[in-house]
């Protein structure tokens, strides 16, 4: 069941279009929202959080309009991209203040804030003033504030920005564990690798429009008219030339390139499914043993490039 539903949502800021005709269904688990700066990711999140009212269309979160429903705020945790601190407060004061807003008593709030900050590795600095914090510590504090009250829905806008590798790893582990608990997590990032690690459910957005949404492998299938590239490295380098010649006999191979120095060939096809079905048989018939087959085009980077930038394999 979808927790978040966008029905043909358009949001304009004066003459500037934030998002246009966006329709989404987001259910429990992690969903990644990807797009370049200014694509409309933050506007999508603002509309979902009730910070902006759609100009056209409807948004439902847990079946209610987030702009008007006050109770919904008890169920959504938001980690913004930007800093949003009372700088002279300590992390414990800051997180516990927001917990008190969620009607926890002062004692409960402080205890929960401390636990949450300790879980995120801030035990040594949680009583220091936030203005002395590094970017990674600030990121952890934002995450602690957004998650300490166990929200059902988490909206994370660029949560790994400025985080060091340790923090990044820690946050990823936390996000995975929250996802396993059945929460709905919407995460935006321009670091594709991070999203790829966390989820297969993605939404690609650019110029305020959703280019594609769903499982990244399924999206890739839908892109059948866009060639994908596959690198093949036979163990016996003498088989490079016969292999590329053989493959070019197949109608579904649109181009082939021999890279003798690298010991590999690169094939281009519009029909990836056919390639993966038939290629093993060809190898067997030709008695060719391959060391590795790599399709970079199946990574989010590649999807992103093709859909957002229209970049094609050369």
């Amino acid at each position: 069941m979808s927790t978040i539903i966008f029905e043909e949502v358009t949001k304009n800021y004066g003459r500037v279009q934030g998002i246009s005709n966006v329709s989404l269904n987001i259910g429990p688990g992690v969903t990644g929202i990807l797009g370049p700066n200014g694509a409309g990711k933050s506007t999508t999140m603002k509309v979902l959080l009730g910070l902006a009212r759609p100009s056209i269309g409807s948004v439902y979160v847990n079946g209610v309009n987030p702009f008007d429903n006050f109770d919904l705020r008890n169920k959504i945790g938001f980690v913004p991209e930007y800093d949003c601190f009372y700088e002279h407060m300590s992390a414990v004061d800051y997180v516990s203040y927001f917990l008190m807003i969620h009607d926890f008593s002062k004692e409960e709030a402080v205890e929960k804030a401390e636990n949450s900050l300790i879980e995120l590795g801030l035990q040594d600095s949680m009583y220091r003033k936030i203005r002395t914090y590094s970017r990674g510590m600030r990121q952890k504090t934002k995450v602690a504030r957004a998650t300490a009250f166990n929200p059902q829905i988490l909206v994370l806008d660029e949560p790994f920005q400025g985080a060091d590798p340790t923090t990044r790893h820690l946050l990823m582990e936390k996000i995975n564990s929250w996802s396993e608990e059945g929460r709905t997590i919407l995460i935006s990032s321009h670091i594709l690798h991070d999203v790829e690690y966390l989820t297969d459910n993605i939404i690609l957005i650019n110029n305020g429009r959703v280019l594609a949404s769903g499982n990244r492998h399924e999206i890739r299938k839908l892109m059948s008219n866009i060639p994908i590239q596959i690198k093949i490295s036979p163990i016996d380098k003498n088989q490079l030339r016969p292999l590329v010649k053989r493959m070019l006999d197949e109608k579904w191979i649109t181009a082939g390139r021999l890279l003798e120095n690298e010991g590999e060939i690169i094939l281009e096809t519009n029909e990836s499914e056919k390639f993966y079905t038939e290629f093993p048989q060809i190898l067997e018939d030709e008695k060719i043993i391959v060391e590795k087959i790599v399709s970079d085009d199946d990574t989010l980077d590649s999807l992103y490039s093709k859909l957002v930038e229209g970049k094609q394999w050369k």
Binding site: L51, H88, D93, I101, H102
Partner: protein
Amino acid sequence: MEISKMFKRFPTLFPPIFKDCSYRLITNKLTWVLVAILMLPCALGLLVYYEFSGDRISEEVDGEKIYYTSSGELLHEDLRVLFLEISEYFGIGFIALLLGIMFSSELISEEYNLKTMQILRTSPIHPVEIFTYRYISGIITGVILLGLYSTLFYIIVMMGAGIHGILEEIGLLALVIKIVILNWIGFLSIFCAINVYFERPYLICFIYWLFWEQIMSGQNYQQITLTHYINSIIYDSLIEMGWSVTASDYGLVNSNNDTIATAPLISTFIILIVGISFIFIGSRGISSKQF
């Protein structure tokens, strides 16, 4: 959210915000620039005291030293006029107004700049709570600051008249502090609401004060200004204290020269109503603001 719940949450949610707001207000450089300007009359008062204290004539009555001017009038009656007139430009006048505008900007606009307002808008805290906590924090900080200033200035001005003079006119200090409180209750809520709705709050607040409060307050329809009610309270209190003042001294007359001062209790009530009304106007602005 019910009003009763807001009251219940107040003791928990207000103190951290008060601490934050008062810290930001006190550490703001502009606050100290204005405090420095406020201290100018204090410095001048000290200078005058040490320069002319030898010229006073004194008389001891029942163990109390009473000071007189060279023309034989009670010195504290001269000094109290000086204290009130200077206060009307500083502690309860133009400088206090600038302080109020600056405070409102720090309390509301700065939260938009710091983006903490966006986070509050995604949290289960009612806009009335958001606005009220900042407004009350501003009142408390402003009143403490200007109350202390007025007391210090009063002591400096009145010490020329000795302990007797200071005690004799203490009612005037109480009046000035009362006006400080009412000024802040009325004006700060308007300034804070302006900060919610406008992107150039300093300018809009100043335009409001200049065109609405200053120009309108001398006219027939001055009852639509807060200044009218503040002046009415000052005027009435001074009459009660036995001062020789007229309604026209405070602009409380219409074009027919009829006194149109409002009773102090009604004036106080109206100022409170204005303060509360602008809490709701400002809160509505917070809830409807889009980011």
